[in-house]
Each structure stands twice: as C-alpha cells, then as structure tokens.
Amino acid sequence: MRRLLYRLAPLFLGLIGLVLWEGLTRHFDVPVYVLPGPVVIAETLWTDGAGLLGALWFTLRITLLALLAATVGGVLLAVVMAQSRVIERSLFPYAVIAQVTPVVAIAPLIIIWSNDNTTLALVICAWIVAFFPIAANTMTGLNAAEKNLHDLFRLYGANRWQTLALLRAPAALPYFLTGLRISGGLSLVGAVVAEFVAGTGGAETGLAFRILESGYRLQIPRLFAALVLLAAAGIAIYVALDLLSRLVLRRWHDSAVRRD
C-alpha cells in the first residue's frame, strides 16, 4: 500500500497541476496564443500528432546517432587517455575546450564544413555536446580499480591488454554508465540546439524547427504539443538508460542493488 502510494505520488502531483492549470486558464479566460490549457494541448497533439511524430522521429534519429557517436568517441578517447599520464595531460584540455565552447557558436562552422549535409551537421553538433560526460567518467573509471588488484595482475604477469579487458574496463563500467545517462539527455539537448541553429536546411525537419515555426505563427498549442513530445522523448531515453544500467550492474554494484 505504502509502496503503491510511493509510486503514484508524482503522478498525483502532476494530475493536480494539470487540473489547476486547466481551471486557471478557463477561469481567467487566457487566450490560447498566450497559454493554452492541457485539454487544448491534448487535442492538438491528437490532430497534429501525425505530422509531429515525423518530426519527433527526425530529432530522435539525430539524438540516437549522436549518442552512439558520443559513446564510441568518448570511450575511445578515455581508453587512449588512460594509457599514460602524458597522453591524458595532452588531450584532456582540448576535450574540455570542446565541452565549454557553446555549441551554438560553433554550429555555423560545422554546417559549412559538412557541406549541406544537415543530418551530419546536426549529429556532429549533438556529439560535441554529449561526448564529454562519457569520456570523463570512463577515464575516471579506468583508473578506479583497487591498487592491490593492479598488483595482483602484475604478480601474474598480466599484459596491458589483459589488464584493460579484465580489470580496468569492468572497473570503469559503473562510471561509464553514469556518463551514458548524462550524455543521453545531453544528446537530445544537443540535437535540439543544433537544429535551432541550422534552421531548415533539408526537406526533413525535427521538433526544434516545429517549435520555432509554431512560435512564429503564434500556434502556441502546437508549440506545447511539440514540447510534450520532446519531454516524453527525454524521459524515455533516461528510463531506458537507467534500466540498462541496473540490468548490467545488478549482481555486483551497490547502486543497482535493491534495498527493501
């Protein structure tokens, strides 16, 4: 019973919020182009859903491609940096620079360089936003194995590859998964921001462009509908990655063990 309440509590709060929202917009007769109520937004989502779903798919594709690239790139960078202090010290500042430079500022350059291939430009922008948490976390994890375990590997004459595969990589796994969960959200942010900057470009457009377009046309319910889809996509990505993390770590890591 308590557990059910615990699970449903956020849903209840959301429901109360929605009812209040609807009630207030009706009571004060707020025009839909300022703040539409939840019912109008739901109706828009129903009628415009088909068109918005295409846009959602476009944005999700960019997000997932960027997350994939961030995972591959971030892990590779981490493995290279973890090989020696000198390599780490040489590379890390540039990773930080890529991370702290606002992607909005670099996006125009990337769009020019990717030669009108909008998808590529968007993926690169989103990748720049997303790779750092994976790279930094994985690097920390690769150096996180117990010192005595390293000694044990030396005692049995382990080579560099064995130490990486059997000791450093497994030790890095929880750190990598933490980075992955952060990067999942950032990939979506990166995809949306990049699309804001890139504008129309090709024939296909994503949710970010629909938000801009709806804003210009004062189709505020449609803007909200697009926002709802974006939020839902973000939640879905987080839940999926959180589930993955729990599944992978369930036998050995304290963070994934259920305490009842």
Partner: protein, 255 residues
C-alpha cells in the same frame, strides 16, 4: 626444518621509497622450502615491504634476493593481501580462475573447484563477493592464491580485519592447507598469538628502519588444532615472543 633446501635467500636487503623513507635496512634471512615462516613486528616496520620485494612487486634499492631452486615464474608465487581484494564484478569462480587466465592456463578449470574445496566454499562458486561475509571473502582470496599451486604463498596480515572467532578458524584451515599442499608460507602479522600458533619459525622485526632483531624456531608439534591455544607450551612460546618483541621496540617512543 633446517635440513630442508633453501627456497629464498635475502642478502643485505634494503629498500628506500622515493619519498626517502628507509623501509628495510640490511635484512638477511633464508626461508627453507616447505617452511611456515612468520614475520612479526609493529606496524610500519617494513614487513609488508619485505613481502612485496619477495613477490617482485617492488625492486629492492639495495641487497639481493636469491632463489637457489630457480627464479619463480608467474603462478609460482601466491599473494593474499590485507583486504580480500576481489573483483566485485566477477563471481567467486571467476575470481579464483583469474590467475589461471592471466598465466594462460585457462584449461585447468578443475583446479578452480579444487581450490574452492580447499577453503570450503564449493557451494558458493556462483556467488558474488558482495553476497559474502568478510571471512568468506578472505577464503576466496586464499583460494585464488592457491589455484596455481604456488611454491610460495605470501600472506600480508590476511586475517587482521576479521573477528577473533573467524580468525581462529581461518588459522586452523590455513595450517591444514599448508600441510596438505606442501608449499612454503611467509606470513606477516602483528599478532604474537597468531605467529606462535601457525609458524615453525618466527622472525621479529623492529621499525624505522626495518631490521630483523630475532629469529626463533617454534618448538611445537607439527599437528596443531584448537586445543593448542590453551596448551602450556604454547603459552610459554607466546610469552617468549612477546618479550622479544618488547625488546625490539625498546628504545622507541612509547606508542
């Protein structure tokens, strides 16, 4: 005991850490093959350093280590640390199998079961370290050190963090394993009672810099069990070792 051939000979062994700390100063001793040999001393006396040098994990800054019967290759030396030092992501079986994998003897999987049998953990082969008690984790650590059938087993205060009841049981099990496996053991401890109970020979070390100040043969029967702990002869040996240890620490500031 003295008749057994020498496995390991330390000659004027010294070690200075990069920080400038002189951990060992001119340690010479012979360890006979098949001996159970303990290093007893206060914390910080360099006994762990000596063990690490013997394992080849550090290179001595002075003196030499000789292996009259041939230098050990990976798998000839087993090491048990103060903490269990298990891989939390691997099952008990995979933890114990690790030395076999690293030394390319992966095919010898029956050895894993045999090692688990030695420490009485066969039913826990599929468990993960976090599901085990402190004493059981130490048993896994011991099984891992034994799985390659080492000539030399090095133990660095392995039972110091355990409660007394568990420690006593593990002491008795370790003696049984040593007798059945016929390996040489170098056991580091700061407990007079543990050293006396287990060893055939005990060297006492002083701290800063680490030196051997006494080397005592323990004149107790080879077959030992829990009843020995209340034996008068055992009590006398503990007193003698305590006196020697007190002499070793004489002149140092009171702790």
């Amino acid at each position: 005991m003295s008749a057994s051939p020498t496995l390991l000979r330390l000659q004027g062994l010294s070690h200075r850490y990069p920080t400038g700390l002189l951990a060992l100063d001119g340690v010479s001793l012979d360890v006979g093959a098949g001996d159970f040999f303990s290093l007893l001393g206060p914390s910080g006396c360099g006994k762990s350093t000596l063990l690490r040098l013997a394992a080849g994990l550090e290179t001595p800054t002075g003196g030499r280590i000789d292996w009259p019967g041939g230098r050990p290759t990976p798998g000839d030396v087993g090491f048990v640390f103060q903490e269990p030092t298990l891989m939390p992501w691997a099952s008990v079986t995979d933890n114990v199998r690790l030395p076999l994998r690293l030394t390319g003897r992966d095919s010898r999987t029956p050895d894993v079961a045999a090692a688990l049998d030695l420490v009485g953990l066969r039913e826990f082969a599929d468990a993960y370290p976090r599901e085990l008690s402190g004493g059981m984790k130490m048993r896994v650590s011991l099984a891992r050190a034994l799985v390659t059938k080492p000539r030399l087993l090095l133990l660095d205060e392995p039972f110091a963090a355990l409660d007394e009841i568990t420690r006593f049981r593990l002491n008795e099990d370790l003696l049984r394993i040593w007798r059945t496996q016929g390996c040489t053991v170098i056991f580091v401890t700061h407990s007079v009672f543990e050293a006396a109970f287990l060893s055939q020979r005990v060297a006492i070390m002083s701290a800063r810099p680490g030196r051997i100040v006494a080397d005592e043969a323990i004149d107790l029967p080879g077959e030992r069990d829990a009843t020995l702990r209340t034996d008068a002869a055992y009590g006398a040996i503990c007193r003698k070792l305590s006196d020697r240890l007190a002499q070793a620490m004489h002149g140092e500031a009171a702790l």
